[in-house]
Subunit: 365 residues, 2 copies
């Protein structure tokens, strides 16, 4: 059997393992997949450090997040390309939530020596595809062996100082809004795990497919984050990685405020009802605590409401929905469900507290 040639022209013998290639050959394959760096990269892959030209006066942003095999993904159910896409996307989402643009990334890979070398090729195809989609350059990284696969990504970004938005600025009286829908990625994960068949709910099949796609390939809200930051009306912003309940609690803690959410206003994803019914899950729980939606949650004064929501509409960006209000800290964090006001349980994932974490598990801040 001749070695299969891939789109970069590389040939790889069938069954070749990471250990058969060695580090230098792997690095060569990676560099070809990543391609030549754009002009703002002075030095890319292949030196001790990469060097980037920054925009004059811009702040440099940096964030890091990892996907660990059998903690955040399983090889049996996630393609390597999806793992690559997602590893970059979850970091870019953190840049989006600061109002920034992503500029560059380094990829630190930990690989078991017996891993099929094709997996690494496919991983980098997903990373490179995401890098093109998010308009950033992969400029370096590291390879080392480890007992489990880890894809650890650090992303750099930029923001004008006046545009930077943190978690800390929410003020009593602010409105709370989120982009897109809630519970979509959690519904996608539940559909994958429980195998909701297309025949079970044919009318909902397209929505479930969208949810599964969102779980595998989240789309960070980069343009929405920059558009919102550009209004200079946003007091606080965070991306929803661990679910609304936990991520809102982070904004409240950082800002020293409380929050009241109106359940009736939540933009619950259309896939949630179908999947929740088939998987025996609570739709509100999927929407509040499922996590991995990577939508943006942000607060702003009511007087700026038209301007803020209008800016998203004018930009043709994903629209946002007002879901509640920032209140005094002593009022705590609550959710109004029909006529009842309940504490908003800051569930979601905190690592280490759980003995087992299912595939597609969720990340810390």
């Amino acid at each position: 059997v001749p070695p299969r040639a891939d789109r970069t022209g590389d040939r790889l013998p069938p069954g070749a393992r990471v250990a058969d290639l060695g580090e230098l050959a792997l690095l060569d394959r990676i560099a070809r997949r990543v391609g030549p760096p754009p002009s703002h990269i002075v030095l890319g892959i292949g030196d001790d450090a990469a060097a980037l030209r920054s925009t004059a006066g811009a702040l440099t942003l940096i964030t890091t997040d990892a996907l660990v095999e059998d903690v955040h993904f399983r090889r049996a159910t996630s393609s390597a390309a999806d793992v690559g896409w997602k590893a970059l996307a979850i970091n870019v989402s953190d840049i989006a939530s600061m109002g920034g643009a992503a500029t560059a990334a380094v990829i630190s890979l930990m690989l078991p020596p017996a891993l099929d070398a094709r997996w690494v090729d496919d991983l980098y195809d997903g990373l490179a595809e995401a890098a093109r989609a998010f308009d950033l350059a992969i400029v370096g990284g590291n390879l080392t062996q480890a007992p489990a696969i880890v894809v650890d990504v650090t992303v750099l970004g930029e923001a004008a100082p006046a545009d930077l938005v943190s978690r800390r600025g929410a003020q009593v009286g602010d409105l709370i809004a989120v982009t897109g829908t809630l519970g979509r990625a959690a519904a996608g994960l539940a559909a994958l795990e429980t195998g909701v068949p297309a025949t079970a709910a044919p009318a909902a099949a397209p929505e479930v497919a969208v949810a599964i796609g969102a779980q595998r390939r989240p789309r960070p809200r980069l343009s929405e984050g920059r558009c919102l930051a550009g209004t200079h009306a946003i007091h606080a912003m965070i991306d929803l990685s661990d679910g609304l309940a936990l991520d809102l609690s982070r904004v409240c803690a950082a800002s020293g405020v409380g929050a009241r959410i109106d359940a009736a206003r939540l933009p619950i994803d259309p896939a949630v009802a179908t999947v929740a019914r088939h998987a025996g899950r609570d739709p509100l729980d999927l929407s509040l605590s499922g996590g991995e939606d990577y939508e943006l949650l942000f607060t702003f004064p009511p007087a700026a409401s038209d301007r803020v929501l209008g800016a998203l509409a004018a930009a043709g960006a994903t629209q946002a929905t007002i879901i509640g209000t920032i209140v005094a800290p002593e009022q705590g964090r609550t959710i109004a469900v029909i006529d009842e006001v309940r504490p908003l349980d800051a569930r979601g994932w905190t690592h280490f507290r759980r003995a087992q974490t299912p595939a597609g598990g969720l990340e810390g801040p």
Copy 2:
């Protein structure tokens, strides 16, 4: 037994595991150990991304490198604080070799849930101590669970565009020099692994102790790198992470040149002879291929020799030794040993090719 209070005032019940604390408590402990950020950090630990003010006109440098349990260190023989120091130092060394200054770091930690929480405290004590020594700020990171400990670090740096030095510029006729001594860290590792007793070579005991210290807490040549870059005479520079033979081969490959080393000129560390004799190792092999010295190797035109070596002397920095010459690529890479010229074997560590990697194993580029 009352919980022990550490220098930050934190108390930790004896035997507390990572899983007992949970992510939020761990993050709190980490933030206290890291302390408040310096003024160039606009946002440090605790948001989706950190934000830094850069020096106007400077290039941003970025590098990443990881230490993996049982690949690069063993808990039985490395203190957590040493692992923390080293994880930061090996990255800062990559910034030093570009002629840059380190500015900030993010720390991505993978931790087994059953790990003693004190280990994480001690790791961060070592990280924080190194951050102070290298004048950089720890601005964020990530925590997740994994089957083995991984300390994955990304360091940011800065360099004036005119000061940036890569691996790529070595020219035929250049002199090749290295800072400090060679084989020190490898001698330290061999001494640790074979237990060279102080009584075996009492006269050499201080040198062996220095070597062990260098293995545990490498000192990146930051001021030397900046001093050399500031002469604007350096054509190529690299840090010696994997040993002279392999790292010089990287400079030659990137620059399209060959090299000839004179073995008689190599500044072999005084601990090497003693340890090599006791551990049954070849002194030249330890010096050329042992790795982890984190000295700088650099090339420059002979006419600049006085200026380059004089700059180090004037700065009171670690001195450098001329060890050879850059030659035409068709002459290959050779080492002259007494009257014989041998090929310079680019041994050193490439991951995955070896079934087992001993403690303190060495890293890729």
